[in-house]
């Protein structure tokens, strides 16, 4: 599986393309604390890539580096064949990277629809005055964007809560709305920070199906952090395992599952 410079084909017949993002020797320090220590891995076009590890392993920090929220102390981030300079998060978003958050970050008082429309903000070009008057270009733009958002509403089966303020929705649905907002940005790369956290079995199954469908239908590359091992092993094509800020494993779910370092770190060392 290592001669993958030109992509590979997964067990279920999906074609995975070339490298979309590459992390080269990333190190991240907060003062004296080393959150990430010299980690390299790549994310390929069209794949579902998981980052796992015990609590405090540095997974969320890694995701924040990818999303441009943290600037790595050392190392380089390459996206679509170019080295990414220091960027503000909104510039990263404009590059085609969208994310969801571990603790839902929606506008609670706004409706599902409005929340999702904010996901398309980066694509709106009309000025403040015409937006305020909702006339001409602003109206046309809104119609176009609304159409895109409606497709996603249909896709995520949340028609019934279109006009409901997000704060009134149950947790599982809020997670889905957040995914919807990220999708509204039509990302090349979608980052999911613990998409299943706090969900019951049924909600997890729904979410898993949506993640697979997003990948299948829109061809979106997905990088996710998740604690539920069953979900990770089922969903992802390749898995990076982190422990104490270091990479201790990288490969297909099967390879990772049989990696002794991973077993020791993640599942505890067996004393026999």
């Amino acid at each position: 599986m290592n001669d993958m410079t030109q992509g590979y084909t997964t067990a279920d017949g999906r074609k995975i393309g070339g490298t979309l993002m590459e992390m080269k020797n990333i190190t991240l320090r907060f003062g004296g604390v080393v959150a990430i220590k010299d980690i390299s891995f790549d994310i390929r076009e069209g794949e579902i890539r998981a980052i796992i590890g015990p609590n405090g392993a540095g997974k969320s920090s890694m995701l924040n580096v990818i999303s441009g929220f943290y600037i790595p102390t050392e190392g380089e981030v390459w996206f679509r064949g170019q080295r990414r300079p220091q960027m503000k998060p909104f510039q990263v978003a404009q590059q085609g990277i969208a994310r969801t958050f571990q603790n839902i970050a929606l506008f609670k008082g706004m409706s599902t629809l409005d929340n999702m429309m904010t996901g398309r903000m980066t694509m709106m070009k009309s000025g403040m005055a015409s937006q305020a008057l909702w006339w001409g270009k602003a109206q046309r733009e809104e119609d176009e964007n609304r159409e895109k958002v409606e497709k996603i509403i249909d896709f995520l089966e949340i028609q019934a809560i279109r006009k409901t303020p997000v704060g009134r929705l149950p947790y599982g649905l809020q997670k889905r709305v957040e995914l919807g907002r990220a999708l509204a940005a039509e990302p090349k790369l979608l980052l999911l920070d613990e998409p299943m956290a706090g969900m019951n079995v049924e909600e997890k199954e729904d979410m898993s199906r949506f993640i697979l469908d997003v990948n299948d239908e829109f061809g979106t590359t997905i990088a996710l952090i998740e604690h539920d091992m069953g979900v990770v092993m089922d969903l992802s094509d390749r898995v990076v395992v982190m422990d104490y800020g270091k990479k201790i494993g990288d490969g297909t779910p099967d390879e990772v599952r049989n990696n002794q370092d991973v077993i020791d770190a993640y599942l505890g060392v067996s004393h026999d």
Binding site: D12, G13, E150, K151, D154, F155, Q159, A160, R162, D216
Partner: protein, 657 residues
């Protein structure tokens, strides 16, 4: 009996009616569906084109005369079109319940030997593929929603739009053949085959001819003056005969528009946006709507609440009378008009019922207060009585003769008689042709003269000529002391309480009646919230002592009212329990149309029934449950059994004095 010959030579099939509608009402809307947040619509001309393209696509796939085409999906225009397109090809559409599990589907698909299956989405396709190893007749599977279908093997799987595209591309090849097949359809050709949900045994395929459907649609459309400007919302299961009559039969005959909701969850919003003029709903839906209104009024401000209470009282008093055209004092009329301005109008608008001219409910008895609530608002809600074998209509209530305890007079063209054992029989142009591949059942249901046994016991009220239904004939029994046992009568009285969802009464051949009760989670949950009662699960709430107290009060109140009825006073409930799980169609306890399956419940909860009769105060039980995806699990519970006070029957009381 109304004439049964074809009206004019041509209008004797659904495709013929479609062609007529395209000619007469060409530019008016025939179908609407909300998709991507917008109502998409098709005129009669557009719909006719779509259906024709689909039919030619079916021909391209090799559909033959007499083939069976199963349709599984929620109400969407394309699914209705598939039915008509199949008819054009000389094939027979068989709509199936979309929430049926693969097992149930396998039986029906195998029984009718379907060669083609039209599925709504991936979920349905998966079920069909699952049963395909057993059902070898299936050759082609089509689907309407493309989502998630990309990776499937498409050698015998087709997107419905591709089928249409192929039909369009090949129209010059298929036009002649299709026209020939349409012309072959006559009054005796099979229009549709519908499987009855079956409270007992395996489902039976009811064969309905064009005569059945078109005659019935014609008579019933005339009865209620349905016009091509009417609007309906199609949201009830497509496999149910009612939906076929309303959304295809009457829609085609009268030429009105069929509106399909965006998703099952958005039904209420869509109802409000469309504002149908002709509306059908089972009592359960009307109950739920009323419960929701009441719950929301509990949370309303004091001014609104006072206005609501005051005007609703007035509505109960004079509303039904105004609707029936009976004399009402001028003062009351004025006050009702004010109420209409401030309360009734806005409320009807919120419910989506502002424009309703005719509304029907059927299937179960409806609570008198619920019935009066809607009639009080000025909504012309009526009852009808029917069944699949009759193409729906047996009796219905004419305008101005509406009451909650009768089901009306025989529908036009229908003859009704009461058998010696009290069973209701009918004969009509809508009477089904036969049960498919089941001559025995056909013979035992329909006699040589065409009279069909309904299986319901009832009687005609002497002074009004209206029919009253007591219960299923086979459920009516005798108690140990010989008094009449009619469980439904008591169950319905209990179900009229908003916090009771379902009741099953036992007592046939025993010395007293007992009952299982299901609480309504919405109503009881809201009550619990307002009274600061914490609960973690349905089970916990159902077993809460205060919930049991409330239910006991209801049971005792019903006992008092049952005791008033001379014939049925023996049916008072002596002991009851509140079930720890909701009765569910997935567990086989209800039919897909949500009717109680007594036999199965009796067997499954044998231990609970024993406990009800042996006087124990508590019982522990374990119950198997089936999840939506077909997996099984079990729940354990300890239930408290309660005694309810019963009344000495009135006639016995009087005898003692």
């Amino acid at each position: 009996m109304v004439s049964e010959t074809a009206p004019t030579g041509e209008l004797c099939s659904i495709p013929a009616l479609l062609a007529r509608n395209a000619r007469l009402y060409g530019a008016s809307p025939a179908y609407r569906e909300k998709e991507f947040g917008i109502w998409q619509s098709w005129t009669w001309i557009e719909a006719a084109e779509e259906i024709r393209a689909m039919a030619e696509g079916f021909l391209a796939l090799g559909m033959e005369r007499g083939d069976y085409v199963a349709i599984i999906g929620r109400n969407r225009p394309a699914h209705y079109w598939a039915m008509v397109a199949a008819q054009m090809c000389g094939a027979i559409p068989v709509p199936l319940y979309q929430d049926a599990v693969a097992e149930e589907m396998a039986y029906v698909l195998e029984h009718c030997g379907a060669r083609f299956v039209v599925c709504g989405d991936q979920e349905q396709v998966d079920k069909v593929i699952e049963v395909q190893d057993r059902v070898h007749s299936i050759e082609h599977v089509m689907y309407n929603d493309k989502r998630g279908m990309r990776k499937y093997d498409h050698s015998h799987l087709h997107w419905l739009h591709d089928v249409q595209a192929e039909g369009r591309a090949g129209h010059s090849r298929f036009d002649g053949e299709l026209d020939k097949r349409i012309a072959e359809l006559d009054y005796d050709s099979t229009c549709v085959m519908l499987y009855t949900s079956g409270t007992t045994g395996k489902p039976k395929g009811v064969v309905l001819s064009n005569r059945n459907i078109i005659e019935t649609s014609k008579n019933s459309a005339e009865f209620d003056h349905l016009k091509h400007t009417d609007e309906v919302l199609a949201y009830l299961p497509m496999a149910w005969v009612g939906d076929f009559i309303f959304s295809i039969g009457q829609a085609m005959w009268a030429g009105f528009c069929v509106n399909c909701p965006e998703s099952p969850d958005t039904m209420m919003t869509d109802l409000r946006e469309i504002g149908p003029t002709y509306y059908f709903a089972p009592p359960r839906i009307f109950e739920t709507m009323l419960t929701n209104v009441m719950i929301r009024m509990e949370d309303a401000g004091p001014l609104k609440k006072r206005m609501f209470d005051r005007y609703m009282k007035l509505a109960q008093k004079v509303g039904p009378a105004i609707l029936d055209g009976k004399p009402v004092s001028g003062m009351d009329k004025l006050r009702y008009a004010l109420g209409n301005l401030f309360v009734f109008g806005p409320l009807k608008n919120t419910l989506g019922l502002s424009r309703v001219r005719v509304a029907y409910t059927a299937g179960e008895a409806i609570g008198p207060e619920i019935f009066d609530f809607y009639r009080g608002l000025g909504i012309n809600l009526k009852q009808l009585y029917g069944q699949t074998e009759a193409s729906v209509f047996i009796t219905q209530q004419p305008d101005h003769e509406v009451r909650s305890d009768t089901v009306g007079v025989p529908s036009p063209g229908v003859e009704v008689k009461i058998g010696d054992n009290g069973e209701v029989y009918y004969r009509s142009p809508g009477t089904f042709v036969e049960y498919y591949k089941n001559a025995d059942s056909t013979a035992s249901t329909k006699d040589a003269e065409g009279w069909v046994a309904t299986g319901d016991a009832g009687f005609f009220e002497p002074d009004t000529g209206h029919l009253r239904i007591i219960d299923r004939a086979k459920d009516v029994g005798k108690m140990a002391d010989g008094s009449l046992f009619a469980p439904k009568y008591v169950e319905n009285k209990l179900k009229f309480y908003p916090d009771i969802l379902e009741v099953v009464v036992f007592g046939n051949g025993r010395d007293m009646c007992t009952a299982f009760i299901n609480i309504d989670l919405t109503a009881v949950g809201n009550w619990a919230e307002r009274n600061n009662i914490a609960y973690a699960s349905y089970q916990e709430l159902a077993g809460h002592p205060r919930v049991l107290d409330t239910i006991q009060a209801h049971v005792e109140e019903v006992n008092r009212s049952v005791a008033e009825d001379e014939m049925l006073s023996g049916c008072q409930i002596h002991r009851f329990l509140v079930l720890h799980k909701e009765l569910d169609a997935d567990d086989g306890e209800l039919t897909r149309t949500r009717k109680v399956r007594r036999k199965i419940i009796e067997e499954k909860y044998d231990d609970l029934i024993t406990a009800l009769y042996d006087g124990s105060a508590k019982v522990s039980t374990e119950t198997e449950v089936t999840y939506e995806d077909g997996r099984k699990g079990s729940i354990k519970a300890t239930l408290e059994l309660r005694d309810a006070a019963v009344q000495e029957p009135r006639h016995r009381r009087m005898a003692a004095e």
